[in-house]
């Protein structure tokens, strides 16, 4: 089977986001950018399925500016076979991303699309579900376990009450949660090898997708800061506080 893995280049999760003084967004100039952590888990899962002999090819795709090709190279270094870069210097909203991915899926005909449940920049949590809707296929969101079984995939999902397992007819879309796997570090030889793996460049127009924004960001501000309170000296003083709060 062929697996398609969409990945996004985002502000590295260890970097504290700084809101721009003019309120237009978060400052991304001269800060470390990385593959979205949930997408990295998706790449790992796809590569593991290939290593198990279940998948035959892993194709990664990224929609974004010129530097998204670095993100694709890091996915290739983890073990993906081939990359598609849909070049767009302007921001592309989840719905348009899903439409582009529908176009890619139309050309590639993957049996499984695995991607992160959300990107850690806009926290939308939409693309996987939207893609599944647009291609008329089932979705297994927030996956903590993925098992391919014949022409179906069993997906264990992290839901509010615990875990839930659904069976989806292939082709299907799976979005990853944190505990699906622990992504590997790419070895130096694999990083070198990734440089010569095929990477094709496309444009949203190649898939007939209009990326005009549907949402206008009016402003971006820092959240209200919570002030630190008091320290109590001992448990007795803490009990007093709990009594004041009416919980003890």
């Amino acid at each position: 089977m062929k697996i398609l893995v969409p990945v996004k280049r985002v502000l590295d999760y260890n970097v504290k986001p700084r809101v721009k003084a003019d309120g237009s967004g978060v400052d991304l100039a001269n800060v470390k950018m990385s593959i979205n952590p949930f997408d990295e888990i998706a790449v790992e899962e796809a590569v593991r399925l290939k290593e198990k002999g279940i998948a035959s090819e892993v194709v990664v795709v990224s929609i974004g500016g010129a530097k998204s090709s670095e993100t694709l190279r890091s996915a290739l270094a983890m073990g993906a076979d081939r990359a598609i870069h849909v070049l767009s210097e302007s921001e592309v909203e989840p719905l348009a991303v899903a439409k582009i991915l529908k176009g890619v899926a139309g050309e590639e005909a993957p049996d499984l699309v695995i991607l992160g449940k959300q990107a850690i920049d806009d926290d939308s949590n939409q693309v996987g579900q939207m893609l599944a809707a647009l291609i008329g296929r089932p979705q297994g969101t927030f996956a903590s376990k993925v098992e391919v079984e014949g022409d179906a995939v069993l997906v264990t999902r992290e839901v509010d009450g615990g875990l839930e397992t659904v069976k989806l007819a292939l082709p299907a879309v799976v979005t990853t949660d944190l505990r699906l796997n622990e992504p590997r570090y790419a070895s130096l030889p694999n990083i070198m090898k990734a440089k010569s793996k095929p990477l094709s460049t496309k444009a949203p127009a190649d898939y007939g997708v209009d990326t005009a924004a549907r949402l206008t960001v009016l402003k971006v501000v820092e959240p209200a800061v919570r002030q630190a309170g008091v320290k109590v000296p001992d448990v007795e003083a803490l009990v007093e506080k709990l009594k004041e709060l009416g919980v003890a």
């Binding site: 978060v26 899903a98 926290d123 693309v127 579900q129 809707a133 069976k167 949402l215």
Partner: protein, 309 residues
């Protein structure tokens, strides 16, 4: 504006997340509620009591029993012909269904809104709550998910909505429910609890977590939470995780035990009314946002606390 709200329910009971979504929806216009499921009738009667709801649509069909989005989204899309906005709570069910509906309607979704600023303008958290964006939609119809902790709950009583049965759209034949491991607990649910006791990596293992955190939670009639580190290490199951990728909570009192205060944990609980932190590291970031801090070894402090309350 006519708004359709997705009712979240479980085992025949309407969940609190629905009530927050109704409040958010009421900020937009007239509110109808959709109850889909195999036991939708009794939940529909509960939904009809919610203050401010005009009409309850009941789709009682086995195809909707487990909220499978492949079956549910076509139902919502069909009903949306008569509505201007679809509003779902930002639960795992709501997050699963709403984007599928949005894509089928060809509109952008606005995720996890914190406030309604105007008929098409909303605030929502980005970067794990490190920034708050105000966004305006240009779409003809709105699809929105609501962060429950950001809106008051609509009253469960006082309403007298009409209940209407709607025809289902049946099985899509793409997916099926296999099973679930849903934690059964006498304790209050995390997202609606008044008091939460949460444990972190400092609890060492599942036995220590249980022996330390549970007695305090029992005494305070509290729900039990955990940091991502504690869940990843297997001390407790995933449904206890509080944080950006777990549950977002805002109880009256949040007691963080042995939790350092990683940014992604703070994102899930910083709107709690009172935050209490017990940690032996006085420089732990959790103390920067705690209202009441106790610098102490949790292994002596927590049992002592249990004995005194």
């Amino acid at each position: 504006m006519k708004v359709l709200v997705w009712a979240e329910h479980e085992q025949g009971a309407l969940k609190d997340a629905t009530l927050s979504a109704v409040t958010a929806a009421a900020g937009l216009g007239a509110v109808d509620v959709l109850v889909a499921g195999d036991s939708a009738g009794s939940v529909g009667a509960q939904a009809a009591q919610i203050a401010g709801v005009e009409k309850v649509l009941v789709a009682g069909d086995a195809a909707y029993a487990h909220g499978l989005p492949e079956n549910v989204a076509p139902l919502v899309v069909a009903l949306m012909a008569g509505y201007d906005a679809f509003v779902a709570p930002a639960t795992t069910t709501g997050k699963n269904i709403a984007p599928r509906v949005a894509a089928l309607l060809d509109v952008a979704q606005i995720s996890e809104i914190l406030s309604v600023e105007g008929p098409k303008t909303f605030t929502r958290p980005i970067y794990a709550g490190n920034a708050i964006a105000t966004v305006e939609s240009s779409d003809a119809k709105l699809v929105i998910t609501v962060r429950g902790t950001a809106f008051a709950k609509a009253a469960r009583e006082g309403g007298s909505a009409a209940v209407e049965t709607v025809a289902g759209t049946g099985e899509a034949g793409l997916s099926s429910f296999v099973g679930a491991e849903i934690a059964q607990s006498e304790r209050p649910e995390l997202t609606s609890a008044k008091v939460i006791v949460s444990g972190g990596r400092a609890l060492k293992d599942s036995e220590t977590f249980a022996a330390t955190i549970l007695p305090l939670a029992d005494k305070l009639k509290a729900a039990v939470g955990a940091s991502r580190a504690a869940v990843d290490a297997g001390y407790v199951s995933n449904d206890h995780q509080v944080g950006q990728t777990g549950k977002i909570v805002a109880p009256e009192v949040y007691i963080a035990v042995g939790i350092s205060g990683a940014i992604q944990h703070l994102a899930g609980m910083k709107d709690s009314k009172t935050i209490i932190a017990i940690n032996k590291d006085e420089d732990a970031p959790i103390f920067q946002i705690a209202d009441i801090g106790l610098v102490a070894d949790l292994y002596s402090a927590v049992p002592d606390l249990v004995a005194r309350v």
